[in-house]
Amino acid sequence: MMQKYQERLYWHVRRMVYEHDDANDVIQNAFIKVFRSIQKFEGKSKLYTWLYRIATNEAITFINKKKRKSTASLDDEEAGINTQLAADPYFDGDQVQLLLQKALETLPEKQRLVFNMRYYEEMPYKDIAEVLDTSVGALKASYHHAVKKVEASLRAADNY
């Protein structure tokens, strides 16, 4: 099961936490939780949405902990993502990708999650609804807003 889903879940987490070391910690903790609670899986949802849910919750917990420890202001954090990614040895994205990540950082956490799952992973709304425990209608609205915001950010960067 791990080998089947690890890569997919890793990238899902990585898009949330950005840094490889953080993503590694989160994904390992998530899988350990999966091992501990696999017997509790009742099969009411798909296995992979259940796994996604655990990984997502772990990532959110990690992000919140990091925010509590951090004393940086919101402006600093937004500017910091670009600097952080540019300095990250495990990021080789070009300027466009940097701008895109910066735009995504401005989204509320849940909206960013919806965007990532829909845009990058092309997950159906039904599956995203199982992962995030949100209605399909709300997800559609959230995704549409997210896309508009990101597009506006990219255009505002005057590269297009």
Partner: protein
């Protein structure tokens, strides 16, 4: 980018879940490793990849044209090692702790409970009460007070009696045993003064009291 939408464990484990497979099929990545000798097909119930991309194109042609490569990378062979690391970590966390004798555990628990705030406060209060009562009873002891009296000089005693004569309990003097009245009266008082005092006292007394004395 193709989604690795593998058929989940529902088909292989519980046949009752097969009813969820109702959607369209998309292209299969033939390089995908198989499980149990069967080809895995992609089933995207209700929405196809085409649907999802059409939606994006409608919302934002700009984003639709962007290369979805994110630029994130991983160290070499990371995913090959990940499984092993996770399993090791899971084993370490579930390993039983070094066994400690039961009596030692109980002692440790008792010791720890003593230092709990409430327990510590209670013990401190009890100690304080014990110390305070020791001081209190020691200071109130008659033996000590009598021992102290011996250090007081006669002159001091005389002075005290003169100053507080009205407040003294005459019965104490009456019970003094062999001590005579003359012995109780300070010798420094003049007889004339004493006589004057007696006469004044007699004048102040009631007739009934005088009769008792006689």
């Amino acid at each position: 980018m193709y989604i690795k939408r593998e058929v989940n464990g529902q088909l292989s484990t519980t046949n009752s879940q097969q009813s969820t497979v109702n959607g369209q099929r998309s292209t299969v990545n033939s390089q995908q490793p198989t499980t149990n000798g069967f080809l895995k097909k992609y089933f995207i119930p209700m929405e196809s990849q085409k649907d999802i991309r059409d939606e994006l194109n409608e919302l934002s042609p700009l984003l639709s044209k962007l290369d979805k490569r994110e630029g994130f990378q991983v160290p070499p062979s990371y995913f090959k090692k990940l499984t092993h690391e996770v399993l090791q970590k899971a084993k370490t966390e579930s390993a039983p702790a070094h066994s400690v004798p039961q009596w030692q555990q109980s002692l440790g628990n008792i010791w720890a409970s003593i230092w709990q705030p409430k327990m510590a406060m209670g013990l401190a209060t009890i100690a304080l009460l014990v110390v305070a009562s020791t001081f209190f009873f020691n200071n109130g002891s008659e033996t000590d007070s009598f021992a102290d009296l011996s250090s007081i000089s006669d002159a001091e005693l005389d002075f005290y009696i003169q100053e507080n004569f009205d407040e003294l309990d005459m019965e104490l003097f009456a019970d003094a045993g062999d001590a005579s009245v003359e012995g109780l009266i300070p010798s420094s008082i003049d007889d004339e003064v004493l006589n004057e005092f007696y006469e004044q006292s007699i004048d102040d007394m009631e007739i009934s009291d005088l009769e008792e004395l006689l």
